[in-house]
């Protein structure tokens, strides 16, 4: 059996020096990672809300469609979905790389987000819908004004978690040659025969991004929590 080459840890000064030297390349890649993440999360929320509403519609056909979507997405690896959108759909109409990756990530995140939202909508007290209806509000109006704001608030912690997963999953776009963080790290690493240094550097970038994202979600959470104070 062939032995894997053992990488040694870079010295601290070498690590810092490389970190500084490559900063402009990585910052550019980070921008792409952020774009992929934000676009795919935003579209994912729309998709997720749509399928969550189908699921709670109490209409059998719509429930089935929602179930089928969630099953297909959760039942296949993200990398397979990305390749299918990149190669498969490209055969029918050409999707730019960025949109193939973004859409694949959005469809993927959307399935998990729809499950999060469905749960949080159903967790809102039944009396809230009744109160809205008793005031002459329609079902849709009550949903929009009363149920969804409460459901979103409840969904924020698991949504934040899903956003972090989405951010890290965007690294898979490297496999369709998007020059995002992970791709830049592996490319530079192998060009310089110095993989470990670059992997450690890219880990730092992801950690910073996750910290920022967590901060934003927490801020949002405490802003929405005013009614608890």
């Amino acid at each position: 059996m062939e032995r894997k080459e053992v990488a040694t840890l870079p010295s601290f000064s070498h690590f810092i020096q490389t970190l500084i030297e490559t900063k402009s390349v990585f910052l550019k890649a980070m921008l792409l990672t952020i774009e992929l993440t934000v676009v795919s999360i935003l579209i994912g929320i729309v998709i997720g809300l749509f399928f969550a509403l189908l699921k709670i519609s109490k209409i059998k056909v719509l429930e089935f469609i929602s179930d089928a979507y969630v099953y297909l997405v959760r039942g296949t690896p993200l990398i397979v979905q990305i390749f299918i959108l990149y190669f498969g759909i490209s055969g029918i109409f050409l999707l730019p790389d960025f949109w193939a990756a973004s859409l694949a990530l959005a469809l993927h995140n959307g399935a998990y987000i729809s499950e999060i939202l469905r749960g949080s909508i159903q967790a809102v007290d039944k009396g809230q819908m009744e109160a809205g209806r008793s005031l002459g509000m329609t079902k849709v109006l009550t949903l929009r004004r009363v149920i969804l704001p409460q459901a979103f608030r409840r969904a924020l912690p698991p949504l934040g978690n899903q956003f972090i997963i989405g951010l890290k999953d965007s690294s898979l776009a490297a496999f369709i040659s998007m020059n995002e963080l992970f791709n830049v790290a592996t490319t530079l690493g192998s060009n310089n025969f110095d993989e470990m240094t670059y992997l450690l550097i890219v880990a730092i970038y992801y950690l910073v991004l996750v910290a920022l994202l967590t901060f934003v979600v927490n801020r949002f959470e405490s802003k929405l929590a005013v009614s608890d104070r």
């Binding site: 004004r145 409460q150 104070r229």
Partner: protein, 247 residues
Amino acid sequence: MDTKEMIKINQLNKSFGDLHVLKGIDMTVYESDVVCLIGASGSGKSTLLRCLNFLEKKDNGNIIIKGKEVDPNTDNLNKIREKVGMVFQHFNLFPHKTVLENIIEAPIMVKGVDKEEAISKAKQLLSKVGLEDKLDVYPNKLSGGQKQRVAIARALAMEPEIMLFDEPTSALDPELVGEVLATMKELAEEGMTMVVVTHEMDFAKEVADWIVYMHDGKIVERGNPEQFFSNPKEERTQEFLKTTILK
């Protein structure tokens, strides 16, 4: 006394699966009447009340609101619900909205009332229920009694002609019951037509024009409070009153 019929129901039936909850209910509520529905848990009184604003769908029978029969399949129930306010046992205030926002939500969104106007009306209603200082407070900062009074103000903001109360004091600590009943009594004195599901016999005795006693999905006895409490005709009623008064 005015004898306009606000609610009339004929042979109302309702089942939940195999459970036959309402078995042919006939009832009429006249304008400015206060009707108290009493009876043991499971007797169908809450279901009857919920049928009156169509939160539960009847199986058969007629429901006539202000002289017009309502067909829940074709009529616009939202229009009817605007006229029929409801107060719930568990208040069901919107927790993400302040007291003021709770009250102005439906007038603005449903009736298209101007915001300034809705706010001034809401302030009026809040001072009526004695909570004018709670305008910008969120519901979770209120006591149960305060929440229920806000819920009453919220229902009144739609300017209903009929108010339904579904055990409005059952979820309250005993010392908070009085303030809610006082608000309801005031409303009754202003001539509001009210149907109240309650276990508060003293309130029923004092405020109701009619008592309706239900047992096992049927109306067993009805009468004015004096006759009903002092001289009930039916054996079932006598038994029920014995147990509740002892309690």
